[in-house]
């Protein structure tokens, strides 16, 4: 019989216990049973790499059973090179180095895009060198990191201004050389990524003039992995991608905390990152637009004689889609 509150208390305790045990078991199932996977991650110290920093800082890699060893790099090109040299399993890289890698026959593959932006690159010039309008760039020395999207952006920018590439002097500079080269006046302008653009603006003050060209180049910031690693441990690739998805979710949910984390890794003032924040669109995806962009840049590289081969590589072979399909099928929108 239903006697007094004792019966209901017993029922309540039973239900609570059942829920707790069920949730406990469910959580238990979510924890990978394999031993932690050690990966080496070459990461360019850019705001675009934010999801990786957040995942590392918040322990999302650990949660997914991955121990990530960070290999800081100045650029995606350097990080991608580190991976080619066998110093890293994963690397952050923009589309342009991947495009060039296609011509070189490298087997490394993009596993996901983690950020894209069409305001990431700008040209910072010195007014005291007579540059106040984009057309004033004609005949000037412009610092640019060759075979990166800086070069592609600069070329596109000049094209939109109807300036022939031969009418300017492109000076190959590494990212870490850009700041001092412009300050010292070795070049009249530089094609730079964020956050260096902001840093230069601050340092030059009124002397600086900045040319942006929204939309003429969409930057795809990707995570690539060695073909060897992908073949050997595709499961680990998915774990890394899951950690990155968690990182992106955290950034969207806690932008302020995320900016603080990213600022620590890229050694830039948090306020500056805040000013640039809307430039970035963090998302773990693989979109057809990446392929289009790679093809477009490949045509550009061929037209400019930057590559010997006149045939555009099939960039589908340089993208690993199964990993992201396994993690978030909706995020993989490459036409197949």
């Amino acid at each position: 019989m239903w006697r007094k509150p004792t019966f209901w208390a017993a029922i309540s305790i039973f239900v609570i216990l059942a829920v707790v045990i069920y949730q406990g078991l469910s959580r238990q199932r979510g924890i990978p049973s394999l031993p932690p996977e050690r990966i080496r991650f070459a990461v360019a110290e850019l705001i675009d790499s934010g999801p990786i920093y957040v995942a590392l800082d918040r322990g999302f890699f650990r949660e997914e059973g991955v121990t990530a060893q960070l290999i800081p790099s100045e650029s995606g090109k350097d990080a991608f090179a580190a991976m080619a040299q066998g110093r890293a399993d994963f690397a952050t890289v923009a589309d342009t180095p991947v495009m060039f890698a296609g011509f070189e026959g490298r087997k490394d593959k993009v596993v996901a895009t983690i950020c894209n932006s069409d305001k990431e690159i700008a040209i910072v010039a010195r007014k005291d060198r007579g540059i106040t309008d984009p057309k004033d760039l004609k005949g000037k020395r412009i610092g640019v990191y060759m075979k990166t999207n800086q070069e592609f952006f600069l070329d596109s920018f000049l094209l939109f201004q109807k300036i022939n590439r031969s009418e300017v002097t492109a000076v190959d500079l590494k990212p870490e050389e850009m700041e001092e080269a412009l300050i010292a006046g070795k070049v009249d302008a530089v094609s730079v990524w964020n956050p260096l653009k902001g840093v230069l603006e601050n340092r030059l003050g009124n002397t600086a003039t900045v040319f942006t060209a929204e939309g003429i180049y969409t930057w795809f910031w990707n995570v690539a992995a060695t073909d060897n690693f992908i073949q050997k441990d595709p499961e680990a690739v998915q774990r890394v991608l899951r950690a990155l998805v968690k990182g992106v979710d955290f950034i969207k949910k806690y932008p302020e905390a995320s900016r603080a984390i990213i600022a620590r890794f890229v050694h830039v003032d948090k306020k500056l990152i805040g000013k640039l924040w809307d430039t970035y669109d963090f998302d773990v995806s693989l979109d057809q637009a990446l392929l289009i962009s790679l093809d477009d840049q490949a045509r550009w590289a061929i037209a400019k004689g930057l590559v010997r081969d006149r045939t555009i590589p099939n960039y589908l072979n340089y993208i690993y889609t199964k990993g992201l399909t396994g993690v978030d099928p909706d995020a993989m929108t490459i036409i197949r």
Binding site: G215, A289, D296
Partner: protein
């Protein structure tokens, strides 16, 4: 909580929950309609992106005006569609902003594409740059179109999943409310019915105990509902009943004691009655025997006295006839007194014999004209003493059922008595009439004679009883006793009223008789 409140809750709860279900379905339906409408817009945007892309490709391939105008027309509609739409959800609105940004760029770069192709090509260098720029613009447009398509597709996907979620939530909410409805109504019903059953069970048990005579039992009355109030009322009633029962028991015990005492008294009384009846019977038997003996004695005495009296009378007659002339006056007076004495004694013997006979006579029942009878008696008295001045006032038509002979004796005695006791009056008045006593007919004889003292009224009808002062009137003292015996033999009664010097009235009734 009262039972009425509980029942009200049971009645209202299903209605409230049903209203909630209806409301949630209505809200969900509205949201679904809105989402479907917005979803159609998004789908149209996706198709629009595709159309623009096709037209861009066509223009890039052939540079025809048809593609350009079609592109512009489509873009105009798409612009209106995109910019006239807004979403409540932040995520959706953010995606819409992305779509708008891509669309704006697509418009800008397509315009640039058209300008690049249709603008003036002044020098050869420009033609090369133009071609290069067109290629770049083609790539950019493709990327932007893809971006817009991706954002619009994501928006469409979000809309679809939101639609699914809304429907799912509505279903869950409906099921949840239904389950709550069933559980709550069921629980309240069960608890209420169980509470009622328990309370009614207690009441039933209490009633059984009460009917079994256990007035010490009290029902457990917890709560404040109607049944608890009923239980308390029941307990109060039982308490009162218990007190009343105690009082009643006490009263009954008293009554039983009294009853026993009464029965004892009745038994004693009955015993006494029995004794008395026995005594009465004995006395009656003795009395009857004595009366019979007395009557026999009276008859014998009277009969036996008549012989010597006749001898004495004869001798007195012989002396007066044979030696009358030899006797002096004194002797003659003595002889006459002796002779008269024999006649009076003979009269007394006749009266005694008549009186004695009345004890055995069974009166006849016949119609008797008492008025005529009274007139006859009056006439006889007037003839006997013509010198008396007496006025008779005799009511006409007085009659009765009875023995004419006996009633004649009774009436003669009563009227004779009145005649006798009015002897001292210069003008005597004797009245005979009828009246009614206790609803029965009665007759009376009234006179204005000497009267009597009511203190002696009970002695009037005793045989041989002479009231004080009656010595001056002649008589044997047996007349009124004879009257009483005759009246009693008829089942009636006789009584008298009077006062010394103011006359007397004698009433009599005859049982069952009616004045005729």
């Amino acid at each position: 909580m009262t039972i009425k409140t509980r029942l009200t809750i049971i009645a209202i709860l299903p209605i409230a929950l049903a209203l909630l279900i209806g409301l949630s379905v209505l809200i969900a339906s509205n949201r679904v309609s809105r989402e479907e409408a917005e979803g159609k817009i998004v789908d149209e945007v996706v198709r629009g992106v595709f159309d623009l892309n096709v037209l861009t490709d066509g223009y890039l391939a052939y540079h025809d005006q048809r593609e350009k105008s079609q592109w512009e027309s489509k873009n105009k509609r798409l612009t209106r569609l995109i910019w006239e739409t807004s979403f409540r959800s932040g995520e959706e609105q953010a995606l819409l902003e992305e779509v708008r940004a891509y669309h704006r760029q697509i418009g800008t770069f397509f315009t640039r594409l058209v300008d690049n192709y249709e603008g003036p090509a002044s020098v050869e260098r420009d033609a090369v740059l133009r071609h290069e720029l067109e290629n770049r613009l083609a790539g950019i447009l493709l990327v932007k179109s893809r971006g817009m398509f991706s954002s619009a597709s994501e928006l469409a996907s979000l809309k679809k999943s939101k639609l699914v979620t809304i429907r799912k939530n509505a279903d869950i909410l409906t099921i949840l409310f239904s389950v709550i409805l069933v559980v709550v109504v069921g629980a309240v019903s069960i608890l209420t019915s169980r509470g009622l059953a328990v309370a009614i069970g207690r009441l039933r048990k209490g009633t059984e105990f009460l009917s079994a005579g256990n007035l010490d039992y009290r029902i457990e009355a917890s709560g404040n509902d109607e049944l608890a109030q009923l239980a308390r009322a029941f307990n109060d009633m039982t308490g009162k009943l218990q007190r009343s029962y105690a009082d009643l028991t006490s009263t009954m015990e008293t009554l039983q004691v009294e009853n026993r005492e009464r029965r004892r008294a009745e038994a004693a009384l009955q015993e006494l009655n029995n004794v008395l009846e026995t005594r009465v019977l004995e006395r009656t038997v003795e009395l009857k025997a004595a009366n019979q003996e007395l009557e026999a004695f009276s008859y014998t005495v009277a009969h036996d006295l008549r012989k010597p009296l006749a001898v004495v009378n004869g001798y007195c007659e012989a002396i007066r006839e044979l030696c009358g002339d030899k006797l002096d006056e004194a002797c003659k007076r003595y002889l006459r007194e002796a002779y008269d004495g024999t006649w009076r004694m003979n009269g007394l013997i006749d009266a005694l014999l008549n009186f004695s006979r009345l004890a055995h006579v069974e009166p006849r029942r016949e119609k008797v004209d008492l008025s005529a009878m009274a007139h006859e008696v009056a006439m006889e008295l007037k003839l006997a003493e013509p010198g008396r001045r007496v006025t008779f006032q005799i009511a006409d038509g007085a009659s009765a059922e009875g023995d004419a002979g006996l009633l004649r004796v009774a009436l003669a005695n009563l009227v004779g008595n009145a005649w006798k006791y009015t002897g001292t009056r210069d003008e005597g008045i004797i009245e005979f009439g009828t009246t009614e006593v206790d609803g029965k007919p009665a007759w009376f004889v009234r006179d204005n004679g000497a009267g009597f003292d009511m203190a002696n009224a009970d002695k009037l009808f005793a045989p041989f009883q002479r009231l004080p002062g009656a010595e001056e009137w002649r008589g044997f003292g047996i007349g009124l006793a004879t009257v009483e015996r005759i009246i009693l033999r008829h089942g009636g009664r006789v009584w008298a009223e009077g006062a010394p010097g103011k006359g007397a009235t004698f009433y009599f009734t005859l049982s069952g008789d009616k004045a005729v």
